[in-house]
C-alpha cells in the first residue's frame, strides 16, 4: 500500500511538469506582448525606454529557454513569482483565493453527497416508480443545463421576483459576490454570509449531484440483484441493514471511480460558477489572468489546481481498498 502511494506520488511529478510546461510555451506563442501590457496597455503607444525597463525587470529579454529554466527553478522552491499587473505575490493570491474556492467547494460537495446518494438510492429501490421517472428526467436535465445558465436563472429569480412579489426578508438571497466573508470553523457561514453562499453552492453542486445520483442508481440496481443481497435478506436482516450495509457499500465502488474522473468537470463547473456569481475564488481569478495574459498568476493557480486534481485521483484509488478489501493495491500490475 505504502509503496503504491509513493509510486503514484512520483508519477504526479512528470505529469504536472509536462502540463505546466505546455501552458508556459503556449503563452509564449500568444499574440499579445506581456511587456507592452504592463507598460501601459496593448493599444496605447508606449515609450520604448519604459518598454525596455519592463522587459529587463521581468526578464522578457532573456532567451525563452532561460526564462523557462528560471520559472522552474523558482517553482520548485514554491516561489510562484508575482503578478505582472499588480505586483502582488502569487503565493499570496493563491492562499487568498484558494480559501474562498475551498469554502464554496465544501458546501457544494456536502449538497452533492447528501442529495446525490439519497436520490440515487431511493430511485434504485423504487425502480420505475413515479419518483424514479421524475428523478431520471431531472438528472438528465441537470446535466444538460450549462452551469452558468442555471446560475443566471437563479440570479434572475432571486434578483427580480422578491421585489415583485414582496418576499419576506428571510427568503431573500444575494446573487453576486462573497459578501461579508465571515466564517467560523473555516467553513460555517456566520451572520449574513449564508445568503451569499447558497446560490453559488447550489449551482456548483447541480452538475455533479445529477451525475452522482445517476451513477448511484445504476450501480445500486446492479448490486440489488447480487446473490449476497438475497443471502443477507434470508439471514433475516432488516431492509434498512440490507440496503445500507450490504448494498450501498458495494455500490459505492464504481461510483467513487467516476467521481474521481469527473473531478475535471467539477473544476470546470467551479470556474464557471465563480465567474457567474463574482465569487472571488481560484476559478474566476484563472479566467481573469488568462484574459489579461498574467502568466505568473495563471501558471501558479493552475499548478495548484493540477496538483489538487492529481491528489484527488490518488485518494480515489486508495479509497477503493477501503470500500472493497478484496482489492490489494501495489501488487501486480496497475493502470
Amino acid at each position: 500500500m505504502t509503496s503504491y502511494i509513493i509510486r503514484r506520488l512520483l508519477l504526479i511529478v512528470p505529469t504536472v511538469f509536462v502540463a505546466l510546461s505546455f501552458l508556459f510555451f503556449i503563452f509564449f506563442l500568444l499574440p499579445g506582448d506581456p511587456a507592452r501590457l504592463i507598460a501601459g496597455g496593448a493599444e496605447r503607444n508606449v515609450d520604448p525606454g519604459v518598454l525596455e525597463r519592463v522587459e529587463a525587470r521581468y526578464g522578457f529579454d532573456d532567451p525563452i529557454l532561460t526564462q523557462f529554466a528560471d520559472y522552474w527553478e523558482r517553482t520548485v522552491q514554491w516561489d510562484l513569482g508575482e503578478s505582472f499587473l499588480t505586483n502582488r505575490g502569487v503565493n499570496d493570491i493563491l492562499g487568498d483565493k484558494a480559501v474562498a474556492s475551498l469554502r464554496l467547494a465544501i458546501w457544494a460537495i456536502i449538497i452533492e453527497i447528501i442529495v446525490g446518494i439519497a436520490v440515487g438510492l431511493l430511485s434504485a429501490i423504487r425502480r420505475y416508480s413515479l419518483s424514479d421517472r421524475i428523478t431520471t428526467i431531472l438528472t438528465a436535465a441537470a446535466s444538460a443545463i450549462p452551469v452558468f445558465v442555471l446560475g443566471f436563472v437563479l440570479q434572475y429569480i432571486f434578483a427580480v421576483q422578491p421585489n415583485k412579489w414582496d418576499w419576506p426578508e428571510w427568503a431573500r438571497l444575494r446573487t453576486s459576490g462573497i459578501g461579508p466573508d465571515s466564517w467560523t470553523f473555516f467553513f460555517i457561514p456566520t451572520g449574513e454570509q449564508w445568503r451569499y453562499l447558497i446560490l453559488p453552492a447550489i449551482t456548483l453542486a447541480s452538475v455533479t449531484t445529477a451525475l452522482l445520483a445517476r451513477m448511484t442508481r445504476g450501480s445500486m440496481l446492479e448490486v440489488l440483484r447480487a446473490d449476497y443481497m438475497r443471502t443477507a435478506k434470508s439471514k433475516g436482516l432488516g431492509e434498512r441493514d440490507v440496503v445500507l450495509r450490504h448494498g450501498l457499500r458495494n455500490a459505492m465502488l464504481p461510483v467513487v471511480t467516476l467521481i474521481g474522473l469527473d473531478f475535471g468537470t467539477a473544476i470546470g463547473a467551479a470556474v464557471l460558477t465563480e465567474f457567474t456569481f463574482n465569487w472571488p475564488g481560484l476559478g474566476s481569478e484563472i479566467v481573469t489572468s488568462v484574459q489579461q495574459r498574467d502568466l505568473p498568476v495563471l501558471l501558479g493557480l493552475t499548478l495548484a489546481v493540477v496538483l489538487a486534481y492529481a491528489l484527488v485521483n490518488l485518494v480515489v484509488d486508495v479509497s477503493y481498498a477501503w470500500f472493497d478489501p478484496r482489492i490489494r493495491l501495489g501488487k501486480g500490475e496497475h493502470a
Partner: protein
C-alpha cells in the same frame, strides 16, 4: 406453417408483426433491425431523435425560417420583449433573437459534429494503438492523456483559444483537441479485452498485418461504446462551446453562437430575461436530446446493460 397461426396473447400489443411469425424467430436478422426496434420503444430517445431531426432541418432551411438576418437591426427596438414581430424579442442592439437562435443551430451543429469527429479521430488512433500494442506505447499514450486530463478543460480551452484565434473553425479544433482523452480510454479498454480473443489469434496466425487486424477485425467489434459515447459527446461539445463563448473566447460577434447570446444576456438579466431564456433553452434541448439518444442507443445496442 401458415396453418399454425400464433394466437395473439391479450396484453401483447407491442410485438411488431414480423416477429409473430414463428419461422422468423430462429432466422438471422440484421442487427440494426433489432437495435432499431428496441430503440423505438424508448420514448425519451425517440423524442430526442425527433428534436435532433428538427434541429437539422432548421439548420438546413435557416434562411427560409428566419424572418430577419442575423445582423439586421431594428433601430430603436433594443431589448424588446417577445411580440408578433419578434417572436423571441430583440437583443441589446435590436437584432431579432428568433432569427439568431435559428441560425445558431447551424453554428452549434457544425461545431458539435466536427469537433466530435476530430476527438473521435485522435482518440481512436491513440486508443487503438495503446490498447493493441501495450507495453511502452501504452504507457506513453496513457501519460499523455494524464497530462491533458490534468489541465482543467476551461483553462486549456481558453489558453489554446487565445493562441489560435477565436474563429468558429479554431473553436472546432480546440474542442476536438481537448475532448479526445475519454474516447482514447474507452477505445483502449475495448482493444485490451478484444485482442485476447481467439478470432484475433486466428487472424494473426493467418498472417494478416497488424493494421488490418486492428482496423478490420478488432475495430468493428469495439464500435458500440464508441457510437454511444460519440452521440453523447456531440451534446457535451455544444456545452463546452457555450462555456468557452461565455468566458469570452468563443466565436466573435456577428456569429450567432448560442453560448455567446447567453453571455450577452448577462447584463440585461433583470429587464430582458427573454435574451437569456431562448438561446439557453436551445442549448438545453439540444444537449438533452443527444444525451437521450445516446442513452437509448446504449440500451438498444446492449440490452443486458439495462
Amino acid at each position: 406453417m401458415t396453418l399454425i397461426e400464433q394466437p395473439t396473447a391479450p396484453g401483447h400489443i407491442d410485438v411488431s408483426p414480423e416477429s409473430t411469425d414463428v419461422a422468423d424467430l430462429g432466422a438471422a436478422r440484421p442487427l440494426r433491425v433489432d437495435v432499431w426496434r428496441r430503440f423505438r420503444r424508448n420514448r425519451l430517445a425517440m423524442v430526442g431523435l425527433a428534436f435532433i431531426v428538427l434541429l437539422v432541418l432548421v439548420a438546413i432551411f435557416a434562411p427560409l425560417i428566419a424572418p430577419y438576418g442575423i445582423t439586421e437591426r431594428t433601430s430603436g427596438q433594443a431589448r424588446q420583449s417577445p411580440s408578433l414581430d419578434h417572436w423571441f424579442g430583440t437583443d441589446q442592439i435590436g437584432r431579432d433573437v428568433f432569427s439568431r437562435v435559428v441560425y445558431g443551430a447551424r453554428v452549434s451543429l457544425r461545431i458539435g459534429i466536427l469537433a466530435t469527429a476530430i476527438s473521435l479521430g485522435i482518440g481512436l488512433l491513440l486508443g487503438a494503438t495503446s490498447g493493441f500494442f501495450g507495453g511502452a506505447t501504452d504507457t506513453l499514450v496513457m501519460r499523455i492523456t494524464d497530462v491533458f486530463l490534468a489541465i482543467p478543460y476551461i483553462v486549456l480551452g481558453v489558453a489554446i483559444a487565445t493562441v489560435v484565434g477565436r474563429s468558429e473553425n479554431s473553436i472546432i479544433i480546440i474542442i476536438g483537441v481537448i475532448g479526445w482523452t475519454s474516447i482514447a480510454r474507452i477505445v483502449r479498454a475495448s482493444f485490451l479485452s478484444l485482442k485476447r480473443l481467439e478470432y484475433v489469434e486466428a487472424a494473426t496466425a493467418l498472417g494478416f498485418s497488424r493494421l488490418r487486424i486492428m482496423f478490420r477485425h478488432i475495430l468493428p467489434n469495439a464500435l458500440q461504446p464508441i457510437i454511444i459515447y460519440g452521440t453523447i459527446a456531440v451534446g457535451s461539445v455544444v456545452l463546452t462551446e457555450a462555456a468557452l463563448s461565455f468566458v469570452g473566447v468563443g466565436p466573435q460577434d456577428p456569429t450567432p453562437a448560442w453560448g455567446k447570446m447567453v453571455a450577452d444576456a448577462k447584463s440585461s438579466l433583470t429587464n430582458a430575461p427573454h435574451m437569456l431564456f431562448f438561446p439557453a433553452g436551445a442549448i438545453f434541448l439540444t444537449v438533452l436530446s443527444f444525451v437521450f439518444v445516446g442513452d437509448g442507443l446504449r440500451d438498444a445496442l446492449d440490452p443486458k446493460l439495462k
